[in-house]
Structure formats: C-alpha cells, structure tokens
Symmetry: D2
Subunit: 190 residues, 4 copies
C-alpha cells in the first residue's frame, strides 16, 4: 500500500472561524489512512520582501519552510477575494517558492491539491485558477480534478463547524482518494 | 484644462532597490501637469484578516485607506512573482477594497492605471492580467492600454536608478497622457 | 440626450435555442431608447487563418466586419465552454480584430459590454474574464460592471424563451443603462 | 522501457507556413524513441454548435475524434492571438471534449503537453495558461513544465523551416523526455 504520506495544509484565510478553516479541518478529519494532513500556519509570515532574504532569514519563513520541506505533498485551501487569489495565500506561496538559507525552495517538487469555499456561488473557481497558474510555473504536479468548489458555504457546515453536506463530503473524499494516487505517481522519486 | 488630479501610487515590490520602485519614481517624475502622483506605502499593512476588521482597525490600514480616499485615481506598479500577482500587492488591494470604520472602500470608483517591470521577458503581462481581474470585479474603470510591460529591466535604467530607455519612456508618457483623459472621463462625478 | 447608439451584438453560442441567444434577445428587447442593439451573426465565419487574409477576403469576414464598423459599440454575449471562452466566439474576435481589405480592424476603439449565461452556477465568470483579456489587449474600453452572470439559466426564462427572472432583468437593465453612459464617455471622438 | 506511445499533435495555427507548424514539425522530428507524434488536423472542423451533435455527426468531428481516441496522449501546439487562446484551437478542444455518436469524449483521460511560439516576446504564455484552464476543467493531467515559450520565432528557425536555435532545441528535448515519463505515470491504466 502507498504511503502514508504527510501533507502540509495551507489555509488562505486567516480568520479564526473561516469557512476555509472548517473545510481544511474536514479534510484533516476525513483523510484516508494513506494521508496524514497537518496545517502549516502562514499568518505570521512577513509580507514578501527580497530585502529580508538574508541571514538571518525571518524565523516564520524558516519555520514554515522547514514544515513544508518535511512534507510529501501540499494541500492548499483557499478562499476567493475580489475574484482572485487571497493576498495572504499568495504571500505564503511567494515565500515558499524561494530557496532559503536552510535549503531549496520548500515547494520544490511537491504534489499539490486544491480545495476552497465561498459564501456565494463561485466556490473559488477563479482563485484556484490563479493558484494553479503560480504552481504550474514552478513545474509542480497539481491534481487536475475533481474540482472541490464549495459554494454557499453557510449551508454546508453544522453549528459545530463540521462539514455535513453530503455532496461536498463525497467530492472531498474523492479528491483525497485521488490525491493519494497522485502523490504516489508524481512525487519526487515516485 | 483637466485636473490636476491626485494619483495614489501603489508599488507591489517592497524591496528598496526594486525595478518597480524605480519605474514608479519615473512615473512620478514624468507626470504631466494634470497629474500629481505620490506613493501610498503598503509595506506596513498586516496580512489581510477579517478578524482585524473591528475597532480599532489597524493603523496602517486606516492610514493607507485615508490616502487612497483622498486621491482621484490610482496607479498600480507591479512586479510579477510566480507568473502572477505579488502577494503583498494583492494583500493591499484586498484591504483597500473593504469599507473601514472610517468610511467606504478606499478603492471605490477610482480610475486605475497599471504598469510593471520584470528582469525577464514577460514584463508583468500575467501579473497585470490578474490585477485587472480583481479590479474589474470591483467595477473599477481600469485604463485599457497601452500596455506598459517593462522587460529586461536591468537594461532600462541607469546607475542612478533613472529610467533611460527611450521606448519605455515613450510608452510611459503615452500611458500617463491617456490616464489624464481616462480620469477626466471615468472618475466619480466625471 | 446621448445617442441613440447602434450596438452590434455577438452571440458566442451558435445553437438556435441557446440560453445566450435568449439572453441576447432580452437585451435587444429591453434596450433603453439610447441604444439600438442588433445581432451581427458569426456562424458563417471560417476558422481564422492568416492565409485567407488576402483578396478576396472571405465574404463572411467582410460582411461581419462592415456591420461592426458601422456600429458605435459591441455587446458580447457568451456561454462558457470548458471553463473558458467558446471557440466560435474567440474565432470571431480574432477575425474582427484584424484590419481587412475593406478598412481598419472592425473592433477598433469600440466600447464593449459583456453578458453571459450558463446552465450551472458559474454564470460565465471565467469565459468573460478571458474575453476581457483579449479585448484589453486591443486597448478597448470594456464596461467594468455590473457582472451579468446568469446562473442556472433554465430557471430564468419562460417557455417562450423570454427572460422573466426579476433579479436578472434588473441586472441586465442596470448594465444597459450604464452602457449608454460608458459609450458616451469612451467612444472614439467621445 | 516505456512506450512507444502515440501522441496526437494539434496545431492551433491553420496558416501553412506558421511558426507553430514548424515547431510541431520539430517536435515530430525530435521525438524520442518512446514517442510517435503525428498531427491530427483541425482545420476542417465546423464551428462548434450543439445543433450539429446528432446523427450524422459532422465527418470532420468523427475523424478527428477517432484519431484522438486512438492516441495515448496529446501535444497541443499553440500560437497566441490577442493575448489569449486562438479561436480555431479552442474550437477543436470544444469539439474534442464532447462525447460523440462514436464513443466517449476523445480527450478523456489523455495526458497533454503544451508548446507554442510567437513572433514577439510573450512566447504564448497567456495562450497556454488559457488552454491549461480548459484542460484542467476536464481533469486532464497536463505536463506542468518546462515551459516551452518560443519567443521571437523568426530568429529560431532556418530558411528550410527547421528549428535551429540551441536553447529552444534543448527545452523542447527536455519537454519531450519528461512527457514520456508523464504519460507513463498518468495515462489511463498507467
């Protein structure tokens, strides 16, 4: 059997009670046996600035980078702000695509999967497309589908924050299952 | 005669010696009489987080917002990171598209123009396209052209950081001239 | 009073009973007094091929080009195929952005507005974004908003094909009203 | 050893002497032993129209579909028109993503690689991004990199139309080598 693979989850919303945090937690909770998903927080990263790329590198960049490097794959959980990628998420990807004093670019070669939620009807289709454009340019293997575009998020979770919508659960499970196979095939050395 | 209009310039690169900062400075220096361009710094903004949207709002958000609101128009100067919009720039746009405790969304109704520079051949075509997608969704009138895509930036400036490339100067001047007319036609109350 | 302005409508779906054709017909029917909207058919255009750009140009290209040139503005009505711009629509835009033996590029300088409908939830957000990217590169002034993204099209029209959904009618009317003002401000010579 | 795999090449330019046709021919000529690349012409396809999706289907659609279905993978060779995907190429992808009277959607499950050439500096970066968006939505595994963006095409080929630029040859060879491995890992049943 494949794995288990460690997956670093990056949540593009910094709000404590965000729908995307709840969606990330659902992915963590429902991960199949072959995946161990854990969050790598990005809220303490400074705004990307090449002038900070010198010893000592910012602690938060080194910490997030080390956590990413140690993972086999990455799960990006993204909201959509202004029909596009959230600033804090892009900021994290900009840092994590740079080699640091501690080693090569943390994202290097990592298989990636994307999921996201919006209060409205778009379900992060446009934000995910922009994240894909950035990751493609890094030559990363991003799981092509299924699209997990969680629409009308307020109707998909219960009061405790648990994902309860049947259709969404099914899509999420399908994505996670395919992600195992995708990591197996496309990881470095795979 | 139209104007003079005040233009808030936002530079997407935080690096002190960035090509985009030099490009912004060239725009400031060459502004026609009808435009007064001044930078609104974005490097002190926190990462966007809805949990911070309560009294007291972060000082840096209120300060940048006030400067934007006071301007007639906005000039976005953007590098391109990972074939897409820079995180710090998107972070600023995400904040500045939200109404604050001090008033309506600072970007509201502002005519916008875009310029950008890269060390390589792309000249920020893809970053500008993503910025346009965000601004369009805010229903803002963004100057359609000309494209100011400054390629191979290291060859366009002199040692003092001044823009010296003839073709680039000409394109920049053309954009600034058209921007005057664009602001005149498309500003709120215009 | 402004206008009346003539508007060439291009429908990206060639299917006779398409939702987008019905949407275009609704725009034609509800046009304010300052707009006269009429379709310019694109179904007879050959596939774009530079080898055909010589005398005699294809009749269908010359005919569509003449109709566009005679119009003050353009309304693009687009479905979304494969999360992106429909081939037949892009084919028409590729032809109509070229100067022909009969004169300058037919799209030159035309103010444009976009609307679109899908059976599902996306409402052509991604197709419209791609159309905008093409038109921006032509330096055309495209109405920034409101977004007319008609979702779940089957629920918005009656059996006769008339648009009956209140919210959609309201958005369409708002767009058409703003388009009058947009044409007034941004047309060549305006 | 893997393969040999058959690869259907689709050229987005219909012009006989196009740079992209020459680039496609270079790929055919330099294909490693594990790849057999052959063109599937798209110039005879009608404009996409759902009303034509009934018996008898257009001959050209059935012919292109059969050729695609018989291939293990697809190589898309694209120019860039108006900063975006060419109409004729998108038209082909729209047809080939539909199931026909002769069987499932011809593109189904095919690994894809992209290359492209422009006379100017963009090298089809924006056209390829749009093609990727369409193929991603079909859940197809598209080779993430390297980017083969052939810029200033007139300087890369000799008078006979052969690709002679060393850097471009190297990038093309790298892409073709990686494509073999990509097909091996990501084809249906792979």
């Amino acid at each position: 059997m494949a794995g288990p693979y460690t997956v670093a989850a990056i949540c593009g919303s910094l709000r404590r009670d965000s729908w995307n945090r709840k969606l990330m937690n659902a992915a963590i909770a429902r991960a199949p046996a072959a995946l161990a998903i854990a969050e790598v927080p990005i809220g303490d990263l400074p705004l990307f600035n090449e002038d900070l790329e010198r010893d000592p590198w910012p602690d938060a960049v080194l910490a997030a980078g080390a956590a990413l490097r140690a993972a086999d794959a990455v799960l990006v959980v993204t909201p959509e702000y202004n029909a596009s990628v959230p600033g804090p998420l892009k900021n994290a990807l900009d840092w994590l695509s740079r080699k640091t004093s501690a080693g090569p670019a943390p994202m290097n070669g990592k298989p990636v999967a994307l999921i996201g939620a919006t209060p409205g009807l778009m379900g992060t289709a446009r934000a995910q497309a922009q994240v894909r454009q950035a990751l493609q340019n890094l030559s990363l293997p991003v799981l092509p589908g299924p699209n997990v575009f969680v629409t009308q998020a307020a109707t998909r979770f219960d009061d405790s924050g648990a994902l309860t919508d049947e259709m969404t659960l099914k899509m999420l499970d399908t994505l996670l299952e395919r992600f195992v196979n995708w990591i197996e095939r496309n990881r470095v050395g795979g």
